[in-house]
């Protein structure tokens, strides 16, 4: 398959707010269930082990008109909850049997309760992850939370989930995480071959499809992209942080590239990179997930950083590893986690001599000119001073 074929398929899925793929997947076999999840992180292998399709819900993007959703939120709340409600009340999610609202911030947290009231027939769960990362404390708590998630899923599907089911799914998701990392590494190495506008939709589509299919797709994409002969431009290399929850419109992602920036690392829809190593597939599978979460997950604004000296270390390491020359801290408007974190992370970047700029966006931002100008000026200044 060519790059163009793969990317066009992903784009179609990414744009499809009727979620045809998931609807078809569900209809293909009696008794199948779909479980939606919001950003930032849920253990997808648990949903998969239950025989369900995990479906990433990342708001409504820039193509959907929000009519009802605005009646639920004041003007000073970010956009993703209102467009998610819009998806719900316009029945675009009427086939979804369960919804997981992970811990990100108080907005998504409260949305979980709204969902319970609005859609009482949907199994709705707030999914908490620990902020204490000591395996004996936070880990023990998390194992039990995973057990409750397991029981909830069992109740939804009417079938038991064995340890082996979880191990099998974990293996598939380990493979997925590995392949995702490889795509990211390839992009960092030769960003002109894997533009972020492609990598992004490839990842977003992956969060809506069967994991095995996505694994194959990632392999196909890497093979096709490596083989293509694309010109290398005189772009600067930058990393994007702050975009882990509400997503920027694809146009914004493209605009940054068009302004002369190769994006070599990012935290867009970070769920498939949340765990940074393989989850062990021997022993107790819930303990394995918990331990990996506690010891090997990304630093992102929805997590506490227990040690002052560690703050921002993750970002600096990511910049170094990807060879980025600067950082764009791009956050959704009204996003408490990203905006409260921004000064701290940016201080650390400064201390490490890494140039950065910051701006805000909304998932339906339409005006790209200012972003292009800002990113372009940033790129020029890096070229000039580096």
């Amino acid at each position: 398959m060519s790059v163009a074929d793969i990317v066009s398929r992903c784009e179609q899925m990414y744009e499809d707010l009727d979620f045809s793929y998931a609807r078809k997947w569900k209809a293909a076999q009696a008794g199948r269930k779909v479980v939606g999840f919001l950003p930032v992180y849920v253990p997808l292998e648990m949903i998969h082990a239950a025989g369900c399709l995990p479906l990433g819900i990342f708001g409504g993007g820039d193509s959907m008109e929000v009519i009802h959703g605005d009646a639920y939120y004041q003007s000073y709340i970010c956009r993703i909850p209102r467009s998610t409600i819009e998806l719900g009340v316009t029945k675009r999610l009427d086939f979804v049997d369960g919804m997981l609202f992970p811990f990100v911030c108080d907005v998504i947290r409260n949305l979980s309760g709204m969902w319970k009231i609005m859609f009482p027939n949907v199994w709705t769960k707030f999914f908490d992850t620990p902020q204490n990362f000591d395996p004996a404390i936070g880990g023990t708590y998390y194992v039990q939370e995973l057990q409750e998630l397991r029981e909830g899923l069992e109740h939804l599907t009417g079938r038991k989930i064995s340890d082996d089911d979880i191990r099998r799914s974990t293996r598939l998701y380990n493979e997925n995480r590995n392949l995702v990392r490889q795509v990211y590494a390839l992009r960092a190495k030769e960003p002109w071959k894997c533009p972020t506008s492609e990598v992004y939709v490839l990842m977003r589509a992956g969060l809506m499809m069967d994991v095995e299919e996505h694994n194959q797709m990632l392999k196909d994409y890497m093979a096709a992209a490596s083989a293509e002969d694309r010109p290398k431009r005189d772009n600067v290399r930058i990393a994007i942080f702050g975009s882990f929850c509400e997503q920027p419109p694809l146009n914004l992602i493209k605009s940054i590239e068009m302004a002369g920036c190769y994006v070599v690392d990012d935290d867009y829809a970070v769920v498939n990179r949340f765990l940074t190593v393989d989850v062990p597939t021997d022993g107790n599978p819930l303990e394995a997930l918990a331990l990996t979460y506690c010891t090997h997950s990304v630093e992102t604004s929805c997590k506490y950083v227990p040690v002052e000296e560690d703050k921002g270390k993750f970002h600096i390491a990511a910049v170094k590893a990807s060879g980025a020359e600067g950082v764009i801290y791009a956050t959704p408007s009204f996003c408490d986690p990203a905006l409260l974190d921004r000064p701290m992370v940016c201080h650390r970047l400064s201390d490490a001599g890494i140039p950065y700029i910051a701006f805000k966006y909304a998932e339906n931002s339409g005006q790209m000119q200012p972003i292009r100008e800002q990113a372009g000026t940033f790129a020029d200044s890096i070229k000039l001073w580096s």
């Binding site: 902020q131 227990p306 009204f334």
Partner: protein, 429 residues
Amino acid sequence: MSKPEAVKEASMEMQKAMIARNYDAITSKNETGRKVSSTFVPGNLNELLMCFDIVNNLPEINAIQAGMRKASGNYIMEAEKSGHSEDVCTYVKCDIGQMSKGNIAPNGKPYPNPDVLMLSYTGCYTFMKWFELLREEYKCPTLMLHVPYEGDGHSTKNMRDYIVKQLKDVVIPGLEQVSGVKFDIDRLRQYLRASAKAEDDLVWCLEQGKKKPSPIDAYFGGVYYIGPIFTAFRGTEDAVEYYKMLRQEVQSRVDNKQGPLTPEGTYFNDQKYRLIVEGPPNWTNFREFWKMFYDEGAVVVASSYTKVGGLYDQGFRHDPENPLESLADYCLGCYTNLNLPTRVDLLAKYVEEYEADGLLINSIKSCNSFSAGQLMIMKEVERRTGKPGAFIETDLVDPRYFSAANVKNRLESYFQMIEQKRQGAHRAA
């Protein structure tokens, strides 16, 4: 023209003196050698801190104080100038801006650096980053107590065990280290006993809102009533005394069929509208805001803000027999740690039990924890109770978001709506 001083009852004077003593204890730490912690109101572990002779400083309260003194606007702008977003909670920016402006306490002396940041992380995401921001500044030990959110509408054994474990393995050893004082569980029990006693009296006072006329205002007056128990005094004999005194004052108003005392010194007896209020108040224009209510004859008979530091009226008491477990239950049960359906249940119950005319929401721009979902709360409570709701928007300590004309307009139309509803009901009868 300067504003006349607010008329205060004896309990208010007592509270003022308690707060002043606490500020003195904080600012004199270098002379006395006492250790100071910074911590948050919801889920605060005051009794536990007292076991280590640690003085409790609450940045949220300092922001409120700055708001009431009209100093917060400058602090917030200062923080925004230094790179903090206009979108985030103004308590945080007020605190940070105050630091850069010399960090002067209400007693005129500079706040000393805290010895420990006690991050009891209950019911609000912002807490976590707020203390990361302070830690960056103060470089002092930070003890995180993660309190899980009651997403399914109840706490679980797992949540409770997790909190107790953190108390035993992280918080208590951390406080021992900071203070050099060995933990004594019997001392904790003794404080918890005092807490429960004060909590009984507080609940009695809050429940008097059911009377007609209501002898209390459970929002504007309520913020005074909850002061000691939500802050640095829960577990002290001072708090026990304060609530005894408060109870006597309320009792005397009940006996005389009087309403609460307004800041102007008159008893607010002519109560036309009985309201339940959801959300924190605005502090920069607190008296002006309050006046808009009593001028129109509206009294608040119950509020959710007076539950951010514990739902004592729903039966919770600190329990000396199960000290750590009871601290865990306390943290879990603070109002903003409850899920949305539970908040709706509680507010609808208040509308019924307090025979209110409806629910008024003061939506705070700063506070996603409270605000995200409030429009739905209003609709649900309206639907369940058949009583009209209303929605106003202000901020905590950012004066730029208090539009007196706007708020007044909305309140007036709300009261008209209540009138119409009454007349409709009257005609139907």
